[in-house]
């Protein structure tokens, strides 16, 4: 009996020893911690000790990790980049630890698979030799320290030479080995899964406007007008990678119901049921915060959701917005005052807004933060709670002091009384601003006597309605029998769909979410296919594509419309 227990004990003891051995430690750190430290080195240039990495670039220029880091050039995905005259090769595990051939487009199948490939290959004497053999831990450490690759080639001096001790080097190499190795969720051999998120506060007509255009683009892609599947099966070998990269697109519609607090759980439920590669478009009447956080935490790209209340962050990565929304309008008013109105710059500025209204607050916040950054004196804030009106005391506060004031009325059309009272104080008010978006482009609330003096922030193009881009979008909608229901929404989704094939093709077969986003980062600035903005600009890490806003004035007469009094304000 006792012998049997001792035997069981010994077996269990051996098994636990084995499992302890299996918990691999990298320089004394668990795998997860080593990956975190490696990622920190790669992305922020900080060593496990907390010190910045030291390196030498161009042969004799010392710098440290606070100035630039690995992912600046090699990108977050590790799949490299091309900018100007500099080509940066991939540094992700599966590329580094395999031989590199001269062209990335043609990779001969492994020897054992030759019979599987139905297509011919180049005769052996025409095949390119390896440009470099696969890296080993040792040769990777060498190239990072002295810039010589396993083929003996000296790399361009723009590739820094890093001063890393043995332990830090091992952690970085461990991270690179695990970087972009397994394809992201939401893709298989035939299909790329996308979702679009709609909250139930959005009017039916706007939902349809967004969905119909997006779905039309997806359908166009899936119609395989270039016979992609056929070409993948029988195309010439040197194009095989390109054709095999083709995937059908599937768009799932995730409708969020009820209060905002429940949205996250609903998103998690949808995602559990169908993991998606990325979120496309989407629309909400309120803030995008819940969806933004969901994307950030799951590392799911979200491309061009329609919202006036995006999350504002310099560091968040996964959501690409059209603009900073209402915040950007407030910011642009500050820039407009700085740029063109020296006589106004020193006057007191008063903002009237509703702190309990996210839209009104976003405008006030945008103005105040930009104004402060410019080194200007503090702004006076007059806050209105709910639907209340301005009290006499608030009016007195507003106009106190010897100088005339600049008034920013960040209120919507329901505050008719505030707008109606402004003319009484006309002599004390030097300039007045409001937001066209907050007023929903309905200016009837502005008293007639002030119609010409009110300046309005307007975040879209103010071109002639017959401009060619607009006409081409309208024509595109017409051909697809999509009624022109909300042109601003439809034009935005048209642009998203117009860019989508390029960003998918850019990935080739490297279906990594970070790489997908990097495709947008590297996009050329656009003014061709976007009908509602003068231009959209892109760049690594830039997450708000429209950077400006017009300041406009209403014309006189019954058919009053906006005319710009400024260029597209960006500074």
């Amino acid at each position: 009996m006792n012998v049997r227990y001792i035997g069981i004990f010994l077996v269990l003891f051996c098994l636990s020893l084995q499992s302890l051995g299996a918990a691999e430690l990298i320089e004394g750190y668990s795998r997860a911690e080593a990956l975190r430290l490696g990622e920190r080195m790669y992305r922020t240039g900080v060593l496990p000790s907390g010190e910045p990495i030291k390196a030498l670039v161009m042969g004799d220029i010392p710098f440290d990790g606070r100035m630039f880091t690995c992912d600046d050039c090699h990108q977050r995905s590790g799949l490299g980049s091309k900018e100007g005259t500099v080509i940066t090769w991939p540094t992700n595990g599966k590329e580094l630890f395999a031989p590199r051939h001269r062209t990335g487009a043609y990779k001969p199948p492994p020897a054992g698979d030759k019979k599987v490939s139905g297509r011919g290959e180049l005769p052996e004497y025409w095949q390119m030799k390896e440009v470099r053999p696969a890296y080993t831990d040792k040769s990777l450490a060498r190239v990072l320290r002295v810039g010589v690759d396993p083929a003996g080639r000296q790399l361009d001096p723009i590739m820094p030479k890093f001063r890393l001790n043995q332990s830090d080097m091992r952690i970085l190499i461990f991270y690179l080995k695990n970087l972009s190795v397994t394809l992201s969720p939401g893709v298989d051999a035939t299909t790329l899964q996308f979702a679009t998120v709609i909250t139930d506060d959005v009017a039916e007509v706007d939902k349809t406007a967004m969905l119909s255009v997006l779905q039309a683009h997806i359908d166009a892609h899936n119609s395989q007008s270039r016979q992609e599947s056929k070409r993948a099966a029988s195309g010439p070998f040197y194009k095989s990678e390109r054709h095999q990269a083709y995937r059908k697109l599937k768009l799932h519609v995730w409708v969020l119901h009820g209060p905002e607090e429940t949205w996250r759980d609903q998103l998690e439920g949808y995602y559990k049921q169908q993991p998606v590669f990325a979120l496309l478009g989407g629309i909400t009447g309120g803030s995008w915060e819940k969806m933004h956080t969901f994307s950030e935490e799951h590392k799911i790209p979200c491309i061009f959701p329609i919202t006036d209340l995006p999350v504002l962050s310099d560091t968040d990565w996964y959501t690409l917005y059209f603009s900073k929304g209402l915040y950007q309008e407030g910011e642009s008013v500050a820039k407009y005052i700085r740029a063109g109105n020296k006589d106004v710059n020193n006057l007191p500025i008063v903002q009237i807004f509703q702190p309990d209204n996210k839209r009104s607050s976003a405008l006030a916040q945008g103005f105040e933060q930009a104004w402060k950054k410019m080194g200007n004196p503090a702004v006076k804030n007059i806050m209105i709670q709910g639907d209340a009106s301005l009290s006499d005391k608030q009016w007195t506060d507003l106009l106190a002091g010897p100088d005339p004031v600049v008034v920013l009325v960040w209120l919507d059309g329901s505050h008719q009384d505030v707008f109606a009272n402004l003319p009484q104080h006309g002599d004390r008010v030097k300039m007045m601003f409001a937001s066209a978006t907050l007023l929903k482009n309905d200016y009837s609330v502005i008293p007639d006597s002030l119609k010409n003096s009110f300046l309005l922030s307007y975040p879209y193009t103010l071109q002639d309605k017959n401009n060619t881009t607009r006409l081409s979008v309208e024509r595109w909608l017409k051909v697809r029998n999509i009624p022109d229901s909300n042109f601003t929404i439809q034009a935005k989704m048209y642009f998203l769909g117009w860019m989508l094939p390029g960003s998918i093709k850019n990935m080739r077969s490297e279906f990594f979410r970070d790489y997908f986003l990097e495709g947008y980062d590297m996009m050329i600035d656009q003014d061709y296919a976007i009908a509602v903005y003068p231009r959209l600009t892109f760049g690594p890490g830039q997450r708000y594509a429209s950077k400006g806003c017009y300041i406009a004035r209403l014309t006189e007469g019954a058919a009053a419309h906006l005319v710009p009094v400024s260029d597209w304000v960006t500074h």
């Binding site: 100007g84 410019m374 080194g375």
Partner: protein, 192 residues
């Protein structure tokens, strides 16, 4: 006789070609970058410096100090960080001569690069007084880029360029390619 003359001519041409070839190779081997002398007309535009102050570019360049100019953008991932590291280190090497030269970085992404971002960029690379960063209206920036023959429609296609002009000189030294610290210092000393 005619044949000898012809032979002589061929030999002379061959020697000339060989000479030119050797010269070319020597020039390419001597420098890892392309160096030319150019004349530019500075456009009459107003830009914004890193403090948000307006700067008349013509007036700014009308100085008896040497000028070293490059074109960058704040979110650039490859070329610009190295150009900026180089400027920062060059300033360090100048030591007490820091105020004897004007370093200028002009944004090629004016929509994104606000004066505030340009200031952050300078701080990131340890800029000291004497290194300014300009941005401005898109139209003005395009004028500047065209005037210095460095305009590209897509900013991702920009290339490493450093322009240097000595005190009282009209010609600019145009350097296409990345410079090491010693190359930049040598080019600067050459201006004096």
């Amino acid at each position: 006789m005619k044949n000898i003359n012809l032979l002589l001519k061929i030999v002379v041409w061959m020697i000339a070609c060989l000479f030119l070839f050797v010269q070319g190779v020597a020039a390419a081997e001597g420098k890892p970058y392309k160096r030319t002398l150019e004349t530019y007309v500075v456009p009459d535009v107003t830009l914004l410096n890193q403090d948000g102050q307006e700067v008349q570019l013509k007036n700014y360049f009308d100085t008896d100090k040497p000028i070293i100019l490059d074109f960058i953008y704040c979110t650039c991932t490859t070329i610009c960080p190295v150009l900026s590291v180089s400027f920062g280190y060059f300033q360090k090497k100048l030591g007490k001569d820091l105020d004897k030269v004007r370093l200028v970085s002009i944004s090629i992404d004016p929509d994104n690069d606000t004066p505030e971002l340009m200031k952050e960029h300078l701080q990131k690379y340890g800029a000291q007084p004497g290194w300014d960063a300009f941005t401005g209206k898109r139209g003005d920036i395009v004028q500047v880029l065209k005037a210095f023959d460095t305009y590209v429609a897509n900013k991702m296609n920009h290339y490493p360029l450093t322009l240097l002009r000595g005190p009282g000189q009209k010609e600019w030294v145009r350097i296409y390619g990345m410079l090491s610290a010693s190359d930049l210092i040598a080019e600067y000393e050459h201006l004096q």
